[in-house]
Amino acid sequence: MATHAATAEGHATGAGHDEHHKLSFIRTYIFSTDHKMIAKQFLLASLLFLLIGGILAGLVRWQLGFPGQPIPFIGSMFSDTTAPGGIILPEFYNSLVTMHATFMIFFAIMPLLVGVWGNFLIPLQIGAPDMAFPRLNTASFWISVPAGILMLASFFVEGGAAGAGWTSYAPLSANPEYSGVHMGQVLWLVSLIILGFSSLTGAVNYITTIINMRAPGMTWFRMPLPTWSLFVTSWLLLLAIPILTGGLIMLLFDQTIGTGFFNPATDGEPLLWQHIFWYFGHPEVYILILPAMGLVSEVISNRARKPIFGYHAMVLAIISIAFLGWVVWGHHMFQSGMNPLLGTSFMISTIIIAVPSAIKVFNWLGTLWKGDIHFDVPMLHALAFVAMFIIGGLSGIFMASAPVDIPIHDTYFIVAHIHYVLFGGSLFGIFAGITFWFPKMFGRMMSPKLGKIHFWVTIFAYNAVFFPMHNLGLRNHMRRIYDPNSYEYLQPLQGLNTFISIAAFILIAGQMIFAFSFFYSMFFGEKAEQNPWKSNTLEWTAAGHPPGHGNFPGGTPHVYRGPYEYSSPESNEDFLPQGVPPEPVRRGAVPREPGFLPTGD
């Protein structure tokens, strides 16, 4: 394949950077146009939202584990309209459930995957000096800040924060008479409309950068899998976010100026909201998992010191998951009242999406097979991703079968499934990514000791929280109910609910180990070598350490081979970086067979 990569000079001019001019504090740390600084800004902001989302989850679990009892320690801090005397009110519970999901999905996991790694990795992995549109990149982060502030502010307005679920089904979300929430819902809508522009500007930037700015020799099939998955994810964002924004604007008009898009009294159609929402919402699920799959592929190949098994199959699986992701949204609506014939077609497309997911799992197992596996902290998280994603994928088959979905729909079985994918999948992928690239970001290693403690606490507590939720669902425990004990048949499950809540508090507390290690290591961690994981990809071998503005001090790198040439017989070591020129003849080296040519040529 021909190389379309542009030279560094051709694009650096647009980057507005000047090697000889020292940037002010504000241009360096606040309104930076450097993709690496913007990645760090996204990282800190979204870790903060991860913490907020976790605290909200803790409050939800308090109500379910200890219903009607005052929240300990912080209970007196709550107002009389949320939790008087520390006892959570039903309307506050609805807000907690809604805002937990909203913060986690839109403000934590999505930016932690796309904002952080799209920014940090793409230019470094393809050998580009920066993003194609650095100022647009700055805007992408700073657009997201007011969105986050508005969403947080909604807790403090009259009526409280939005309480119609993160899915905001109309008419509950469209009419304050039904929900008791007006301003909170309006802020929720405005915040997400603004946030959408942040995602869109990011997506445009990632796509343009990858298409135009790959270094010479960086063919499509020599691209590392994180970059591939971020490329495909960006297309999903570009096509899905405008759909959501359109729906949000319609809902905002229903809520504020009296339109009736989703109001049956004015010939509006409540199901239209669900179609719009899930037409965005299902690709969104893949937006939240594909980048994590890319990060995990990188870590597994590196720490198993072995080429990724079936590189082309992995790329094709990413693309086919993304493609199929557009034709499955109706599986969220099996019980919604839409035409049952549609249910059949959505069931078949949904169940087919299990195939590329299975291919990815088998290829990760194939990568480990006959490897030389190093159990460093990033690898532990990456392996946990695989082990947990298997559970999340398999539990998805239950609800993909529309008849079996009838009893488990809207129960804790679904809550278990989503958390096996979003926490067991995405968040373990994020931990793998942060612990792996931390030395490149901050020039220091994260503490392996604290990292291992954090990992083991997390994996045990996580499973103690979410695995029994399958069982709750099978005992017909509905989701989003404030007081399960109001149903007599759910009363025997109180013990299990309390168990889950205690495990959840341990899980949340365990994350403080990570937070401490993160900031401690940033300043006091062991200084990292240039290439601590003996990696092949350009960010470790060609960029500065840590990379400065302009990324590649020695000039644009040239790429000679695929990204996963670990344990190649061409090299005496167990890795062979992408930028090292091939030697014509090497004494003692085993001649390569044609079948083992590096991928992509």
């Binding site: 079968s401 079996v404 149903y487």
Partner: protein
């Protein structure tokens, strides 16, 4: 420990055993895949752990393996889809609603279920209809069709023991049928977040023997006649 079970409670409707059977088929298939993949993963982690002087094998993949592990999952999931298809149509296709069923109107609103029954004449929308709140009482010997509407937001009518769940969308006339297989009292819940009182939007479904059902209808009709004007639909007469 029964709370940790992956078994389902015994169902009480005609479609229940079929849904449960499909569930158990999927449980077995996914259970086998789960054990096989997780054990393989752990075995590889043990067998190929790092040892000094040992180097990984330089393998890029295997086309035959890719074909096999694409084809086998594809066949399995397609088989599950085909098995699901017929049952789905049987439950949800409007053409399969039994013609001889008893029809009951269900009006959902925040936060109650109002059920309007045909009176002694067996016909809905006649003067002898009566309405009961949060109680669905049906005879064992014939299927029931619910004609469902919502006056405000989306609710979801959920009868766990019957393996029944149907969202009720305002502005849409929906129906759902079922055939009970045993007498008893079963909980009804709302499965779609519908507002502040969502958690208390409950009801009970009572399946009577035919004779008991007739007695119950007579009791309700007398109650309604003494409490309300004859025009239908009568206001709710019985709060739970």
């Amino acid at each position: 420990m029964e709370n940790w079970s992956w078994m389902l409670d015994e169902s009480a409707s005609s479609v229940g055993p079929q849904i449960d059977r499909l569930y158990y088929i999927i449980l077995v298939i996914t259970g086998i895949v789960f054990v096989a993949t997780e054990v393989t993963l752990l075995y590889f982690l043990f067998k190929y752990r790092h040892r000094e002087g040992h180097k990984a094998e330089y393998i890029h993949g295997n086309t035959k393996a890719e074909i096999i592990w694409t084809a086998i999952p594809a066949l399995i999931v397609l088989a599950i889809a085909l098995m699901s298809r017929g049952l789905w149509a049987e439950i949800k296709d409007p053409a399969n609603v039994p013609a001889d069923a008893m029809r009951v109107m269900l009006e959902a609103k925040q936060f109650e279920w109002n059920l309007t029954y045909p009176g002694p004449d067996g016909e809905l929308r006649t003067g002898d209809d009566f309405t009961v709140r949060n109680r669905l009482d049906i005879p064992l010997d014939r299927p029931t069709v619910l004609e469902m509407t919502s006056v405000d937001v989306i609710h979801s009518f959920f009868v766990p023991d019957f393996r029944l769940k149907q969202d009720i969308v305002p502005g849409m006339a929906m129906q759902m049928w079922f055939q009970p297989t045993r007498a008893g009292v079963f909980p009804i819940g709302c499965a779609e977040l519908c507002g502040i009182g969502h958690t208390r939007m409950r009801g009970t479904l009572t399946v009577h023997s035919p004779a008991d059902y007739q007695a119950w209808v007579n009791e309700q009709v007398q109650g309604a006649a003494s409490a309300a004007e004859p025009a239908a639909p009568a206001p709710a007469t019985q709060a739970q």
